[in-house]
């Protein structure tokens, strides 16, 4: 018997990365801006998204959402009340969405016309660890942190916060009763991801929603510019 070493040097999530790259191309050529919302459970992804969908629709934008949960279609039903087309992905125990699940659901969603959309939101499974490794083909990864969670969340979960392109501090209307140290939170986010764009919102009072929606519009416009330039 002889033993030898065979070099592989292969990414473990190579398949996911390849599927995600293909999805990103598809999204970009359809002209739809795709965002992946990540946070721990209970941060308010669904509430923020529901309001975002309403506000974008009120401005004449064409929007849709895909929402991932272990079980139930409660979130999809909540989001659908905004009038936007919504599709639920149930992962049945898997703690994150991956590119294959997203691709499959988009393919099966026959009434969805990607090219007729301005924005597609993917609400990930509530989890601050696993979604950081799985690219879904999104253009912008948004991490949410609520004022009830504590200012040191970014330091505790650096992997996810570092992988984000934008951060939203949610439930800002109850920051004071929660004893939330806003400056410390912003500093912590900046330490993990220097220069990241940070929003402070309350989906209940509407605080900060305007700035967030304007940011979305500017991101979509810059995607269109880079699309026509390529």
């Amino acid at each position: 018997m002889t033993t030898r070493i065979v070099e592989l040097r292969r990414g473990i999530l190579k398949k996911n990365d390849e599927l995600a790259a293909a999805l990103r191309n598809r999204f970009s050529s359809s002209g739809v801006l795709v965002l992946n919302l990540v946070s721990s459970p209970g941060t308010g992804k669904t509430t923020l998204l529901e309001r975002t969908l309403r506000e974008l629709r009120a401005r004449g934008s064409r929007v849709a959402a895909v929402v991932g949960d272990l079980e139930t279609d409660n979130d999809a039903r909540r989001l659908a009340s905004s009038g936007a087309p919504v599709r639920q992905i149930n992962t049945h125990g898997i703690c994150h969405l991956d590119a294959e699940m997203v691709g499959k659901h988009i393919d099966e969603w026959q009434s969805l016309d990607l090219a007729g959309l301005d924005y597609l939101f993917i609400e990930n499974v509530g989890n601050l660890v696993c979604p950081s490794s799985y690219d879904l083909g999104e253009r912008i990864r948004v991490v949410l942190l609520s004022v009830t969670e504590g200012e040191d969340k970014p330091l505790k979960y650096p992997g996810l916060f570092n992988s984000a392109d934008a951060a939203i501090i949610t439930k800002i209307d109850i920051a004071e009763p929660c004893g939330f140290d806003r400056e410390q939170a912003i500093q912590n986010i900046n330490e993990i991801r220097p220069g990241i764009r940070i929003f402070e919102t309350s989906a209940r009072t509407g605080q900060g929603m305007d700035e967030w929606v304007k940011y979305l519009a500017s991101q979509r416009a810059s995607q269109q510019v880079s699309k026509s330039a390529s």
């Binding site: 018997m1 592989l8 040097r9 950081s132």
Partner: protein, 133 residues
């Protein structure tokens, strides 16, 4: 708890490579895992035993090499290793440094196989894969 899906992906990938060596037995699978890759080794080892059961990889050893975070500092233009995942400051000048040059890796580095001496080396070697960025 995504170690189970990671273990499954490793099995798929290694099985594919090992198919080029039909008489060989896989002894060891060696991984490079960055400190920021959010992978818990104990949990991965536990899943490894389960997912390799009844596959040609049963009984193989999973060796995980953890890679420290290396950050690039824009202030003093240096690359340095960080001692943990909490303090993202340049150890030289103290400037915030979160431009990671290493630490997110999640890759299979190599496998160690055992072949009977009488078997000719496989005619086709697995395709050389570019190093992940």
């Amino acid at each position: 708890m995504h170690e189970l899906s990671i273990a499954t992906s490793i099995v798929e990938s290694v099985t594919e490579t090992a198919a080029a060596y039909p008489h060989a037995r896989v002894l060891e699978v060696r991984l490079r895992v960055g400190a920021l890759a959010s992978v818990v080794e104990d949990s991965l080892q536990f899943c490894w035993t389960i997912v390799t059961e009844d596959t040609p990889l049963a009984g193989s050893k999973l060796v995980v090499r953890t890679l420290p975070i290396i950050v690039h500092c824009v202030n003093c233009n240096s690359d340095s290793e960080l001692s943990g995942v909490q303090n993202f400051h340049c150890p030289h000048c103290g400037h915030i440094a979160a431009d990671f040059r290493q630490g997110r890796e999640l890759e299979i580095e190599s496998i160690e196989i055992e072949e009977p001496d009488s078997v000719q080396p496989a005619a086709t070697l697995p395709e050389k894969v570019e190093e992940a960025s």
